[in-house]
Symmetry: C2
Subunit: 376 residues, 2 copies
């Protein structure tokens, strides 16, 4: 498990599957069988005290680092995870699991429903961030790990980090929620809702029953385009595109005149090939329903916590603005949880945690290298 | 013209049409016949020196103030325009015209193409902000007005204000561009492009040929939802909705759990009944193509200007951020055009110029009351 053969200077990794049965969800429904796709990097030590769980964002998967055979590009957080990197695989055993409800190897709406032999589609139950984390807890138990050295994630990954702290406060020594929130604002819900409406407006979506037929390509592409705008900053868009026009103009009306239009269309088209439209609905809804406070003040949910936190936000992130990270910091202070907070100067908006990782690397490396010695 | 009979304390107004032929557009194409819907409020004085032109925003129309017979609500800027109001119809003759390309009485893609007897649809030429303003100039000439006392508009209305200053610098004594920009940023283009893609993704759009059949309701509704989020501020959404859930929950999957979702769906549905999907494409594209600088520094376009400006922006407006208004102010300073600038404290985001008009009223009233005496 997690052995990483070195070939041509690339470190390769193979996805794994962990399966379990009779999983009861937060809403009372249950799944007869659950598969969770996961990857590991580095080696678990004998005492099993060096495990770090990576939580992925909305549209990501378990492939956080290293290469799959044949891949031109490594996993989505390879800048952060690897030998000598901020999350150092020479020292830590790093785990990343795909979320339940997803479409990258884990059980989700595109999986076969054992009761019918057909894909679940909308018969799949509405999973929550709490369910995603409960499934991960089973994986961590299965790996024999009692306490995680750390748990790290950005955006929806950060929501899972917070849910771990609330659900399993004794199972985590440290945590790094990045560019995230204890609960979505109406604006964040609204952007997700537009994405869902775009998908459901596509007749090919067919109330979720499109498997085996044409997929709702147009609707899913529009949903992704909306998301993509919110992940970038105005400044990074201005720097990347300005008002430059495309050189390959065609003569049809409402073609992409501007580079930014062509870029968005490409991102939408690319996404359609790798993401399930129903998973988009389920997972975005799980984010909107997420509320780590569970109706209380977040600090009350942290009373049993025995962990140290590093909370990171990005100045140009207008989708998950810094005040939402500061609410987490405030809850830590009120409940006596040791916490460091840094608002990182970065231009790339919400995507900064994925694409502008130099300062983030420095902070995460420092935090992880001396969790026990840090004085707050 | 413009006589406003008073009934039941409501001032009524009737829409009018101004028609002309052989209108050559910026792109070289021409329209054999153009109708412009317009309304007037107040009376033109004998010297014809008291006319104020109101420029409407993207989805608005010529009905800026007063009531149409049977209307429960007055025009879209009735808080600003009327007897004793900031744009005082006791003193000024106020004109508002629907833009060319629109769908509220003016010639646009839903109008009959005289060459075929069928609606233009995508055979309608791509009009620009410059074309909209050129058509208004014909209306103003027709009314016998040589020089406008002022020209006022927010958002796309502000773009038309700027284009007037560039196209007809001698025909304007003062101008109030509000919450606008000399040209769209890539982020603004991107949001418009998502709206266009949502419409064009709807099979009922049928490459623009939906007249006489079902309209692309779903796509147009999604487009409006995206727009609506960008018109509000995060704060105004939080105040209006919080995370309150709807009381009339149904049992279908992906219903509107949160009030904000239901609100957006309602706004989208309402919009579909009153706006043409092709006009959405043409007008949003006109906004994206607009560039008052025409490749120069904006100040160079203002050299011939003999007008005084009041530039207004709103602190919570993240769609047309204040820096874009400041670019207009800078151009005025550089070219020696007298200008006042105020960034108004308001919570409603871009919509503030429509819905939070108290401070704006005060500033506009003050500016208009003494354009000649103002010292800069």
């Amino acid at each position: 498990m997690g052995a990483a053969p070195l070939l041509n200077d690339k470190v390769y990794v193979e996805p794994q599957i962990f399966s379990f049965g009779n999983f009861t969800l937060e809403n009372g429904e249950s799944l007869a069988r659950v598969d969770i796709a996961y990857e590991t990097y580095g080696r678990l030590n004998a005492a099993k005290t060096n495990a770090i769980l990576i939580e992925h964002a909305f549209s990501m998967d378990a492939h956080a680092a290293f290469y799959h055979a044949g891949d031109a590009r490594p996993g989505w957080w390879d800048t952060m995870i690897g030998p000598g990197k901020a999350i150092d695989t020479e020292r830590f055993f790093v785990i990343c699991s795909n979320v339940i409800g997803g479409c990258a190897g884990s059980t989700g709406p595109s999986s076969l429903n054992p009761a019918t032999g057909k894909p679940y589609a909308l018969d799949f139950p509405q999973v929550t961030i709490k369910d995603m984390v409960a499934a991960q807890k089973k994986l961590i138990d299965h790996l024999g790990i009692e306490k995680l050295y750390s748990i790290v994630g950005g955006s929806m990954g950060g929501m899972q980090v917070l849910q771990w702290l609330v659900s399993y406060p004794q199972a985590v020594r440290s945590a790094i929620p990045i560019a995230t929130t204890a609960r979505h604002s109406p604006q964040q819900i609204a952007f997700n809702e537009v994405g869902r409406q775009a998908i459901m407006a596509d007749p090919k979506w067919n109330n979720g029953n499109f498997y085996g037929n044409e997929i709702p390509r147009a609707g899913l592409s529009v949903a992704r385009m909306v998301g993509h705008i919110t992940y970038m900053s105005e400044k990074s868009m201005a720097e990347k595109f300005g008002r430059r026009t495309k050189s390959d103009q065609d003569n049809t009306k409402f073609h992409a005149d501007f580079e930014v239009e062509g870029y968005l269309r490409n991102r939408g088209d690319f996404f359609v090939g790798r993401f399930d439209a129903n998973s988009y609905l389920y997972i975005s809804k799980a984010m909107d329903l997420f509320d780590a406070t569970e109706g209380k003040h977040l600090s009350e949910k942290f009373y049993e916590l025995d962990a140290k936190l590093l909370v990171l936000a990005f100045k140009s992130d207008w989708l998950y603005p810094a005040y939402q990270s500061l609410e987490i910091v405030t809850a830590c202070k009120v409940s006596g949880v040791p916490v460091s907070y840094i608002e990182i100067e970065a231009n790339y908006g919400h995507d900064s945690f994925l694409v502008e990782t130099e300062k983030q690397s420095h902070l995460v490396r420092h935090f992880l290298s001396r969790v026990d010695e840090l004085i707050y």
